[in-house]
């Protein structure tokens, strides 16, 4: 990522001249607003920031950011962004995608970008439905989901996006919620400063085709009984007066929620991905115990860095102008001369 330089920008500077055209009430508005408010904090000039998206409602996002941006094709944003990021270390490259874009048609590119640890900030707006194509079930829809394309209920189990990302060796994995601007910005902040791939799942409400999907963890009446806020170095407890703890039962592979007991102290920097994976398994389709925050934040050289170092080292050993080197290359091997 680019080095911060002294620029004073405001949220307004990041608003493009394009009219925002999501449905009124869409969760994407709050994510856009949070992003525009957060961006000045980065201290990166607008011209060094690029948003790349695929196809879907969320993928309109780049049009509304007054930075460089590309609205590409369905599922391919991580691949396109990989080529951009690997060849341009001076840019801060963000991928905006959705559950269909990233996990269905673009699943392959997502897991390989994460495996490579490309220096990308990948924001997955998960609304558990296809919005732009008007309401088919998605790869994160709960099993049995009744939609236009599944009138008898969907037959396939959903992905847990965080478990998938962790299985793909992601070095930074987090989850947040569209309506919690403060938390959303704190997660964006952590993602932005991570070297390598940062994967952020944002629960996002589609008020047209899947309204209220995350209501259990948004409604103040129920939220605190189900939402687990992960904070680095803090015991993982939740519920009224912190009555629930996330514990690691002896002899168990995973974590579980119980009343009382000794809670785990959260540490996203644990090298073994099993810990973050166990955290990711606490939440299912029903959201009854849903952690948010940074699950995993570890360091590993980025693909960009390794690739550029190879080119850099090869160039450092080369002598002569490019033209001289080219002439040597053409004349290499077994040549013969005719007079």
């Amino acid at each position: 990522m680019a080095n911060p330089v002294a620029v004073t920008l405001t949220a307004k500077d990041f608003k493009s001249d394009q009219e925002v055209r999501w449905c009124p009430g869409c969760g994407d508005y709050s994510i856009l607003a949070a992003m525009q408010r957060f961006m000045p904090e980065l201290g990166i000039p607008r011209h060094n920031i690029v948003f790349v998206s695929g196809i879907g409602c969320s993928s309109r996002f780049p049009y509304y950011m007054n930075t460089y941006g590309m609205h590409s094709i369905h599922g391919r944003a991580p691949a396109i962004a990989t080529g951009l990021s690997a060849s341009r270390p001076d840019l801060s490259v963000w991928v905006v995608t959705g559950d269909g874009d990233a996990l269905s048609i673009g699943g392959n590119h997502l897991i390989h970008a994460l495996r490579r640890n490309v220096n990308l900030k990948i924001l997955l707006f998960n609304n558990r439905i296809y919005g732009l194509t008007k309401g088919q079930y998605s790869p994160t829809s709960e099993i049995g989901k009744i939609t236009k394309s599944t009138p008898a209920g969907s037959a396939d189990s959903p992905f847990n996006p965080l478990s998938l990302a962790l299985g793909a060796e992601a070095t930074f994995v987090a989850r947040t919620i569209d309506s919690d601007a403060k938390h959303l910005q704190s997660v964006l902040r952590a993602a932005a400063t991570h070297e390598g791939s940062a994967f952020v799942e944002i629960y996002q409400n589609c008020n047209i085709f899947n309204d209220g999907a995350f209501e259990l963890i948004k409604d103040p009446a129920t939220r605190d009984e189900h939402l687990i806020r992960l904070e680095q170095g803090q015991p993982i407890t939740f519920g009224t007066d912190g009555r629930y703890s996330v514990v690691h039962p002896e002899g168990s592979f995973g974590l579980k929620v119980q009343q009382g007991g000794t809670p785990m102290v959260h540490d996203a920097t644990v090298d073994d991905p099993a810990y973050a994976f166990a955290l990711s398994r606490l939440s299912g389709s029903d959201l009854t115990t849903t952690p948010i925050g940074v699950f995993r934040n570890v360091q590993r050289p980025s693909y960009d860095e390794i690739v550029r170092k190879q080119v850099h080292d090869a160039k450092a050993q080369a002598t002569g102008t490019p033209e001289e080197m080219l002439s040597d290359l053409l004349n290499a091997g077994d040549t013969w001369t005719i007079l």
């Binding site: 060094n48 790349v52 609205h71 840019l91 080119v311 013969w336």
Partner: protein, 617 residues
């Protein structure tokens, strides 16, 4: 190695085919013989032919791998229709290649492999060496394996390693027979086995044993010489199409002052370009082996957006997968080079065999009206210049360009007169760094009046922040637009800007200027068509030849050219894709002549066909 005391005969041209099991090292043997022949100054053309299986069952017909080299004391255009000499390392190699061998040809066979079991594997009831079936040929039985093992008895290598050196014995024998200089082969062995000195010694000894055998045995009474060809002065190297194409891309990077970014997924027969380019990082070349074909072109497009010379290399199945991204590149109007090394299709088809059947896909195989530039190299060394031309069009006109190579030119080789770097075209195109309207705004789709290219304003440029995408864009501003008149305008503009690309006129070769028949080709058929035309002219039959490098846009003079002949014949390794285009575009009754066997045309096939057209109309 002492001078031979044998009769020396002068030949003007020879075609040798080395054939054996795919593990016998025939490609290497052919390569070395070719290199020795190049050193001598003969003109050369080569054609490898190998199975897609890495190791097909040993000794079977599908496992036969061969390498044909044609060399002459004059300028040649093809690897030769049929071999004069067949080196057959086992019964399968003999059986597979015999049908193409003309009567009188020499056959050198490794008798050690003609065991009952090996004969049975390929359906020989009796050994063809013992019955009368090879009476039309000059058969030279040589116990290649046992003589190699015998020669290496004290070399300190395993019996297996000794047996594996039999290809060097064969190379030594053939090098003696055709009086080839062998120093480059000895140097090659030193490089190849640098980490195992015992194998350097063993392979050198096997080579020398083969040479000495030729000199001393009574089985070979004649030694041949082929004098150097008269070729244009200059420095040459032998080069395959895939190598030349790779070097062309490196050169395009240097001449455009852009870093080359290659996104590729391994696929036969294009992978060698990825291998070659990955060695040239010192030129700022980045190669990425992507997770799939789509990611490969996606990454190349992303890099092009960032200001690199984006390239993706593949074969037909890969181009099919890349189609949607190519359309995006057309909508974004960004430079991109897509290399399609064509192979026989459809589907997996025959991955190691050649075909020209992706022309329609290159020209038309996308959704929507999605025009781009298409060019094709005509020979292995021409791949260098075609790659530079593809890059020139891509960066000058900000468009994807498809470069249609094929397996025949990709793996074939020929001498390449090395260009001097200063002669190569200057491809430098400056990025846009400032606003482009009088009132200080930046309009990403405001076009250059000459090239109709939009500005290439790369991320990182202060003040030019803008958004692009696959949705239809308003003229000039690039904003999303569903306006019917705008869409009509943009679709027509995208076509016009491809049509307006400056490409050279097509040349017609008609030395006597009296031909009534024109043979029109494109891509790799240049060699066999050219050889057929020469043969006809030598026999007093006039024929004109024109060959297309640019397939989109077509040269401006092509309509006039094809209208100037009574007959236009279009030979293609497909079912008539260019012929259909020429008929539709110029309303002429072009004759399609087609072959889709996975093999290149022979000059004789084309000569016979064209003779009939010239004589009988």
């Amino acid at each position: 190695m002492a001078a031979p005391a044998k009769r020396v005969e002068q030949l003007d041209r020879v075609v040798i085919r080395f054939a054996g099991d795919s593990g016998d090292g025939m490609q290497l043997t052919g390569d070395r013989f070719t290199s020795e022949t190049a050193q001598l100054g003969n003109d050369i053309s080569t054609l490898p032919n190998f199975p897609a299986e890495i190791r097909a069952p040993a000794g079977t017909l599908p496992g036969v791998s061969s390498f044909q080299v044609h060399f002459a004391d004059y300028d040649i255009l093809t690897p030769g229709d049929a071999p004069n000499v067949l080196v057959a390392m086992n019964p399968a190699a003999l059986k597979a290649n015999l049908p193409e061998l003309p009567a009188g040809a020499d056959i050198i066979v490794n008798t050690d492999e003609f065991t009952k079991r090996n004969l049975a594997k390929v359906g020989y009831a009796t050994s063809p060496l013992d019955d009368d079936s090879l009476r039309e040929y000059a058969v030279h039985p040589v116990a290649l394996t046992s003589m190699t093992v015998g020669a290496l008895a004290d070399a300190g290598v395993s019996k297996k390693d000794a047996e594996r050196a039999k290809n060097m014995f064969a190379l030594g024998l053939l090098s003696w027979m055709y009086s080839r200089p062998f120093q480059s082969t000895l140097r090659f062995l030193e490089r190849k086995f640098a980490k195992r000195p015992e194998l350097v010694a063993a392979n050198k000894a096997a080579f020398q044993a083969g040479w000495n055998y030729g000199e001393t045995t009574e089985a070979f009474t004649v030694r041949y010489e082929v004098k150097p060809a008269k070729m244009r002065p200059g420095t040459y190297r032998n080069i395959t199409g895939n190598q030349a194409l790779s070097l062309g891309l490196v050169a395009a990077g240097v001449r455009s002052k852009l870093p080359v970014f290659l996104g590729a997924y391994p696929i036969t027969p294009a992978s060698d370009i990825l291998h070659e380019l990955s060695k040239h990082k010192r030129f700022g070349v980045t190669t990425m082996q992507a997770e799939d074909e789509i990611a490969a072109i996606g990454a190349a497009l992303g890099a092009a957006y960032g200001g690199a010379l984006g390239v993706t290399t593949t074969s037909g199945p890969g181009v099919a997968l890349k189609g949607e991204t190519i359309s995006l590149a057309i909508a974004l109007e960004l430079p991109l080079v897509i290399v399609d090394v064509q192979r026989a299709g459809p589907s997996t088809g025959m991955p190691t065999k050649t075909e020209q059947a992706d022309l329609n896909m290159a020209l038309f195989g996308r959704h929507g009206e999605a025009p781009l530039a298409v060019i094709a190299p005509k020979s292995p060394s021409d791949c260098f210049h075609a790659a530079i031309e593809a890059a020139r069009i891509a960066v000058t006109y900000r468009t994807p360009v498809i470069l249609l190579s094929d397996n025949y030119v990709a793996n074939g080789s020929e001498p390449w007169l090395l260009p001097s770097v200063d002669e190569l075209p200057d491809l430098h195109v400056p990025f846009t760094t400032e606003a482009n309207t009088a009132d200080g705004r930046f309009l990403p789709y405001l076009r250059d009046p000459q090239t109709m290219a939009r500005p290439w304003a790369v991320p990182g440029t202060p003040g030019l922040e803008h958004r692009i995408g696959g949705l239809e864009k308003a003229d000039k501003t690039g904003d999303i637009s569903y306006d019917p008149a705008n869409h009509e305008f943009m679709v027509r503009t995208r076509q016009q800007r491809i049509d307006a690309i400056a490409v050279p006129d097509v040349d017609v070769e008609d030395p006597e200027e009296n031909a009534r028949v024109l043979v029109l080709g494109w891509g790799s058929t240049y060699g066999p068509i050219g050889a057929a035309c020469r043969a006809l002219r030598q026999r007093g039959l006039p024929i004109a030849q024109a060959h297309l490098r640019h397939l989109a846009p077509l040269p401006a003079n092509l309509g006039e050219v094809v209208a100037g002949y009574d007959k236009v014949v279009i030979p293609e390794m497909n079912l008539g894709q260019l012929a259909q285009l020429i008929r539709a575009k110029y309303l002429i009754d072009a004759v399609a002549f087609n072959q889709v066997s996975g093999l290149p045309f022979t000059a004789a096939t084309l000569e016979n066909m064209l003779e009939d057209v010239v004589k009988n109309g």
